[in-house]
Amino acid sequence: MNKIKQIFGGDARQLGMIFALAALIILFQILTGGLTLQPDNVNNIIQGNAYILVLAIGMVLVIIAGHIDLSVGSVAAFVGIVVAISMRDWGVPWWGGILLGLALGALVGVWQGFWVAYVGIPAFIVTLSGFLFFRGANQFVGKSNTVPVPPEFQVIGAGTLPEVGPSTGYNNLTVLLGLLACAGIIWGTLRGRRQLINIGATVEEAWITYTRMALICIVVFGAMLLIASGRKGFPVPGLILIALVLLYGFIASKTIIGRHIYAVGGNRHAAELSGVRSKRVNFLVMANMSLLAALAGMMFVARSNASGPFDGVGWELDAIAAVFIGGAAVSGGVGTVIGSIIGGLVMAVLNNGLQLMGAGADMTQMIKGLVLLVAVAFDIYNKSQGRPSISGLFMRNRRSKGSDGDAVEAPTAASEIEKLDETLGQRS
């Protein structure tokens, strides 16, 4: 028992959101009599939510920088219709359509970013304007019609990894993907541990690290095997999503621009006086958001085989909810890409499970609304208790996780009191 505790040890709380997700999956697995973890359903969840998660990646950066983007659904719809028309009427090939869509998204982003960053209009206003404008533009361009897209294009929304190689009863490429993922996890863990030892930080016992690593690998590989055992392979939108999570996770945590986004959101004036070009940061996060919205729009159009006048309605709110469930702060400066993805997955699993159980859209909406409130309330309660918030936990890198358990001496009495004074003084 004690040993199990140690494996999760300090991480049990740190991975609170992941555990909540796991609990939710198990709960629905039981309630739906095993439907949730059917390969087809897992594929369905990934395909049906990848575009929202793509938006969440962009949205978390926007929210970390202290802004909001309400226009993503409309921008997605606008780009979707233009791309669909370009392929149907102007003879643009499918890859040309994708490039055109991304270029259009970037252009929209430049437009919105300009007003936010260089004119100084609050993003709420600029993107509310965009929300209205691009919804109208979608219906203007498409004359409120539905425009189909060619099958080659549909791959980015509905495609799956094809069957190749010998018949094993599994989708070979998906199994391979699982193996690659595990190799990556093992490599990352070992490298991280070696670095910790190199800089002389305290590391946890080896077997804890390795057991945790093994558990993660089992879960990841198990999920891939599950999907591979179904009729189809791993979905293409899922691959796009994984690539984006890796890319943006890297940017947010390991690059200068990533640091600068957090700095601007945390304290813009301090950031500027430390040499951060905050206008440029604001411009980039807003522009990037529209770029990702364009991608999300195209993925959705590809999945539903056509672009319509009501694509993307309410997406901005789903993406924002995912980000806040994932632990970002309304006031900016806090949040992680991976946290937002998990937040988005919690919503997705909830949505899917309730649908499988036959709950109507009305009930689903009500429950999702409450989940958002409870998740954020839990986070705030944790903070007021002096425990790290969920997002704070994700923010920590491997090093602090390693030394968290026992190496850290108690904070000085003085700072502790000051902190308590602050939190409690405010409440009374």
Binding site: Q195, N198, I199, A201, K254, T255, I256, G258, R259, Y262, A263, G266, N267, H269, A270, A271, E272, L273, S274, G275, V276, R277, G333, V334, R396, N397, R399, S400, S403, A407, V408, E409, A410, P411, T412, A413, A414, S415, E416, I417, E418, K419, L420, D421, L424, G425, S428
Partner: protein, 541 residues
């Protein structure tokens, strides 16, 4: 290091006026107050007795428990959450919240003023305590009573003026007027002068003396020992959550050194570390620097100012608040304030064109801002990320910020500056003011600057940390960097600087060598709205 209150002729000179008041009667007694937070004993058996009609100072280093004690007294920590007894006006009192204590006549004015900027003075004074008639606010009476209260605190402002339109010194007076409106018997002021300039501070202290003569008892928490020595009748010293002693200022002949000894539990022989300057070549020079106000087109915030800094030299800048010191420094630091009009910057004889903060940092300038929390730190960050934040390039290889180097450098600075934190993973918001300031300094030293501009580097931090920061500043100078020290505390300027410029209303009014400067000469130059022609030239260039 004694202050000279005669510097401010226009202000009624404060000072103990014993005899005017029925002294000797105890208004407040706190007995054996103990307060525990999970894992920390913030106060243990603190005992304090305050006489009616006196000004009673509480001294202690940051984190000693002063604020906690006042929170116990004012009911922020309700009865039952602490041990011990509070006797007020001869009765045992148990407050459950701030309203209770205010009802009894105890009003606390916090360091961060609790005024609403967009509301008028009158509205603020009666906020939460509105003058109503049948549920409707009676504005006529509100204005009339507000005017009366403003007259009592000597503030000549229209009660309809918005709070945001008056300076912080006047805001402090509004807070006091607000306290008076509640029929205050015991007024608690937490760091009342920390944000005020010398003139406003003196006015406030004068006002406190006036209140004392009218029978209002004051408790004052302050780090400014000269003010405490100047105005208070008795002093309770708190160290590590324990009440160490209560001193009677007159009877015990208390001076600053005596207070410091009580606060730190030992003598600090010198408040400024020994330092023999080794002054070298001219490092940095500013010529005819003129800058316009960012919003007001025809207003100049820097009027053709010229100065220089040599290697190894600590150059002080003295000026009253609003004199344009910060504006000057920030305009030099990559034009981060105001609109550049004309002037040249030279470093090692080469002209610099610094149009942005990154350019200034690359050119070897560093600017430690005056307001740590709003301008210096991202309070969401931890020590290591803060330390490297002003020059991430230095530890970035390819695209990747090297977290091992980040940890290494942060750890080096933590050790060399003796920042009190368990690890560099600690959030900066959890550090005390002094340690936060060390992190900010580390952040700028990490940029490897040649010229370090420090704007009020020791504001609001305790004596021990101040001493350490002085040491760091002198070390920087000894390494051959140039240091500019902007400070409102004249003793600090006099103790550290090799040369001091004075600024008044956006223009340099004088420069004094260390040997020629004292508080009076500085104050004279700081308050002189002179033309350029009569700049004194005692300093040898």
């Amino acid at each position: 290091m004694s202050t000279d209150s005669s510097l401010q002729d226009n202000v009624s000179s404060p000072g103990p006026e014993e005899g005017d008041i029925p002294a000797g009667q105890v208004i407040l007694e706190m007995r054996d107050i103990s307060k525990e937070f999970p894992g920390v004993k913030a106060l243990s058996n603190v005992t304090m007795t305050v006489q009616r009609g006196e000004i009673h100072a509480i001294c202690g280093e940051n984190g000693a428990g002063k604020s906690t004690l006042m929170k116990v007294l004012s009911g922020v920590w309700p009865a039952g959450t602490y041990d011990g007894e509070i006797h007020f006006n001869g009765r045992l009192v148990e407050f459950n919240n701030i309203r209770d204590s205010e009802h009894a006549g105890i009003v606390i004015i916090h360091q961060e003023l609790a005024l609403i900027p967009e509301l008028s003075i009158g509205e603020n004074i009666f906020l939460g305590n509105e003058v109503t008639h049948g549920g409707v606010i009676n504005w006529m009476t509100t204005r009339k009573r507000a005017s009366e209260l403003l007259a009592r605190v000597g503030l000549n402002e229209n009660p309809d003026t918005k709070i945001k339109d008056i300076g912080v010194g006047k805001q402090q007076l509004v807070e006091i007027a607000k306290a008076l409106s509640k029929d205050v018997k015991l007024l608690i002021l937490d760091e009342p002068t920390s944000a005020l300039n010398e003139g406003d501070s003196q006015h406030l202290l004068g006002l406190m003396a006036g209140l004392r003569s009218r029978g209002v008892t004051c408790i004052m928490i302050s780090h400014k020992l000269n003010e405490i020595e100047q105005i208070s009748d008795s002093i309770t010293i708190i160290r590590d959550g324990k009440s160490i002693e209560t001193l009677r200022v007159k009877e015990d002949g208390v001076d600053e050194n005596r207070i410091i000894r009580g606060m730190v539990g030992r003598d600090i022989e010198s408040r400024f570390p020994d330092h023999v300057p080794e002054i070298g070549e001219k490092l940095f020079e500013v010529k005819d620097w003129t800058v316009r106000h960012p919003n007001v087109a025809d207003r100049l915030v820097c009027k053709s100012e010229s100065f220089f800094v040599r290697r190894g030299e600590i150059v002080g800048f003295a000026g009253l608040m609003g004199a344009g010191r910060t504006e000057l420094m920030r305009s030099i630091f990559g034009q981060s304030y105001g609109i550049f009009v004309s002037g040249t910057l030279l470093k090692d004889g080469q002209e610099l064109h610094l149009k942005s903060v990154p350019a200034a940092i690359d050119a070897g300038l560093a600017y430690v801002t005056e307001d740590r929390k709003t301008l210096g730190l991202n309070l969401l960050d931890d020590i290591k990320r803060t330390t490297v934040s002003a020059k991430l390039k230095r530890i970035t290889h390819g695209l990747v910020v090297d977290e091992r180097e980040e940890y290494k450098y942060a750890e080096e600075y933590r050790k060399s500056m003796r920042t009190k934190a368990p690890t560099v993973d600690e959030g900066v918001s959890k550090l005390s003011g002094g340690n936060q300031q060390k992190v900010v300094l580390a952040k700028w030293l990490f940029t490897e600057p040649d010229l370090l501009i420090l704007d009020e580097p020791t504001r609001g931090i305790d004596v021990g940390a101040k001493f350490e920061i002085y040491g760091i500043v002198q070390r920087m100078a000894a390494e051959g960097k140039g240091v500019i020290l902007v400070s409102s505390e004249l003793p600090e300027l006099l103790g550290l600087s090799d040369r001091i410029y004075t600024i008044c209303e956006g223009a340099i009014t004088g420069v004094l060598d260390k040997g020629h400067a004292d508080q009076e000469s500085l104050m004279r130059l700081m308050t002189k709205t002179s033309s350029r022609s009569d700049v004194p030239t005692q300093a040898s260039a």
